[in-house]
């Protein structure tokens, strides 16, 4: 295993690919890998790309990767597609849009199936990002499954989150809804050559400006967004960037915005705050998993099953049943 980790640190594609497969299939390998590699991570700028199916995420990832390569930055790409809830199978088709990137040794693309995870990413995506980080990719692009309104996990996995919209996806009421638009550090209106693109850009800008002069939520934090508190004061103002990814239009501007956001994160305390937010969630998640497993060891299966039956037949309620389970944990 140590040999494999050494090869991953040297950026050897075969080793990276094999380790990713192993962490996807085994939690214990994931634990070993993260323990061994974690100190080599923390260098990469992790950029999340999310948006509805068909909005052009993969094509945009293709263009972004080409742009970063022009700056001589190596790019790791993780593209997540959904697994079937019925068969567990998946069709991972994001590479179809990334054919321009073939044959470039500075690019590593990995397709992942979500394997039942909700939230837009796979359970192992965070570990895969760490592997690519340890392998020395300074830029990591993470493309989520086609996202609707509530798949917002990417905001906690990425430093910079791009939310992609396309024209004609609904009126401006859609832009007022809570959820995916709130996690954007940069809003992208792709397919900007289509009719209605101007209206989509305007609706999104209106949504952003509605926050001005009062307070708005940004990454779950209440922010003052009066005009005076805007960029001059060091606060990030979410830009709306039109692109036509198939033609490469708007891509240099988008890359400039992404890099401005990185500078903003690093110049403020935001980078560390986001890293701490991510670390806290990760630790709480691991703790939950561990507690659940401990419970399964401490309380015999038939005892647990009896409690489930008692809840189902209304002999007791779920809160009382869980209290009883929990008392055995701490006993």
């Amino acid at each position: 295993m140590d040999d494999l980790f050494a090869q991953v640190r040297q950026g050897r594609p075969r080793a990276i690919a094999r380790l990713i497969t192993q962490v996807e299939n085994s939690e214990s390998v994931a634990e070993t890998a993260v323990t061994a590699l974690y100190r080599s991570t923390g260098q990469a700028h992790v950029i999340g790309i999310t948006g509805p199916p068909g909005s052009g995420k993969s094509t945009l990832v293709n263009e972004l990767a080409k742009g970063f390569r022009q700056q001589d930055l190596r790019v790791g790409i993780v593209a997540v597609d959904p697994s079937s809830p019925f068969t567990g199978g998946a069709l991972l088709g994001d590479r179809v849009r990334m054919r321009d990137l073939a044959g470039d040794a500075g690019i590593f693309i990995r397709s992942m199936a979500s394997r039942g995870n909700l939230g837009g990413l796979a359970e192992a995506t965070a570990v895969v990002v760490k592997i690519l980080d340890a392998a020395g990719f300074p830029v990591i692009l993470v493309e989520t499954v086609g996202a609707g309104q509530a798949e917002v996990d990417i905001a906690h996995a990425a430093h910079t989150t791009l939310v992609i919209e396309a024209p004609g996806m609904g009126d401006e009421i859609q832009t007022f809804k809570a959820g995916i638009l709130e996690i954007a550090d940069i809003l992208v209106v792709n397919k900007a050559d289509r009719p209605g693109a101007d209206r989509t850009v305007k609706a999104l800008e209106l949504m952003l400006h509605m926050g001005e002069g009062g307070t708005t939520r940004h990454h779950g934090r209440l922010l003052q967004t009066s005009a005076a508190a805007m960029p001059s004061n060091g606060m990030w103002q979410v830009p709306v960037q039109p692109t036509t990814a198939v033609q490469g239009t708007g891509i240099p501007e988008l890359i400039a915005a992404v890099q401005r956001h990185r500078q903003y994160l690093q110049a403020s305390d935001e980078w560390l705050r986001r890293e701490k937010d991510r670390s806290r969630r990760e630790m709480e998640h691991l703790l939950q998993t561990r507690l659940l497993r401990r419970l399964q060891v401490v309380v015999a299966p038939d005892k647990r099953e009896a409690l489930v039956t008692a809840v189902a037949t209304r002999e007791t309620d779920p809160y009382t049943a869980v209290a009883e389970l929990f008392s055995q944990l701490s006993a």
Partner: protein, 135 residues
Amino acid sequence: MTEAQRTPRILIGKPGLDGHDRGAKVVARALRDAGMEVIYTGLRQTPEMIVEAALQEDVDAIGLSILSGAHLPLTERVMALLRENDMADVPVFLGGIIPGDDLPVLQEMGVTGVFGPGASTDEIVGFVRGAVQRG
């Protein structure tokens, strides 16, 4: 998730210049419905692109769909690249219009399954399951 579980990952690629990918899509869909993860690379791939994708995706088998008549040189190149990359153990199967006379040549190259237009998806799924288990 236990160590024993491993969802098979299969690459379906179309090397060469023919633009007819219906067969490749039908096979990709059938393998998906059989619970496998299918990496579909799309049309007009070079052997280099296919082997690079297979390496990065760490697939358990590679299916090539070729209707152009260029199956011999394309397959030969794919097999050579797999050997170069220390991936000769990855099973390769073929679909498309492949004349019977070429089968021994393809077998000699290391191709383990060839499926023509008459092949059922059950047959192909069964073959891939077997090939992946042996691997």
